[in-house]
Symmetry: C2
Subunit: 127 residues, 2 copies
Amino acid sequence: MDEVAATRQVATAYVNDLERRDWSGLAVLLADDVVYEMPQTRERIRGKARFLQFNSEYPGDWHLRARRVVADGQLAAVWLDVRVGAEHQDACVWLELSEHGLISRIVDYWPEPYEPPAGREHLVERW
Amino acid sequence: MDEVAATRQVATAYVNDLERRDWSGLAVLLADDVVYEMPQTRERIRGKARFLQFNSEYPGDWHLRARRVVADGQLAAVWLDVRVGAEHQDACVWLELSEHGLISRIVDYWPEPYEPPAGREHLVERW
């Protein structure tokens, strides 16, 4: 398997292991010194143990589905469809792999809905 | 040039042409029936002409820099650093290319800062 295929496989497994709450499967994908960042809240979690704890403690019956996985060398981007009951939100995840093919950095964005600014109604349609 | 290199080049040129307000350069990259979507506001713009107008009319002295370009087949993801004066926001952009190598779909996310929920202070550091 070439590097891109391996990166794509790790990114896909990352989503699937989270969805299945397969913490031991997830642990295998992560570098010990993985860094997880949420730039919107300026939060950072360092290390595999804390990151696994963060996910296992995360409240709510959340479910993830990858809308798109884009892999390029040791980088990947994952566009997620996230649902908690009837609530839905998309997320954008940026993964960086180490030279050993382990996830060494994760950057998560959780874009929330907002009202569009005025002045572009002549160009857009709403759904 | 292989498909991935071509996709990466188009994604990079997309950012650079926007930054330079090079509308004719940007027009060359776009399929005539390009679809631009902003899921957070549920807004959609159809067609090259409207999309170019949207960008040329977009208010503010905005500046874009690609933090990361991830290309995979006819898909790309671009992580943008966007600045307007002293204000900064990141954006996540998903590009889809046609079989002719033109950008046929653009999905933009504009994640805004928010306060972190309580309950994970024992795992995170702030920056």
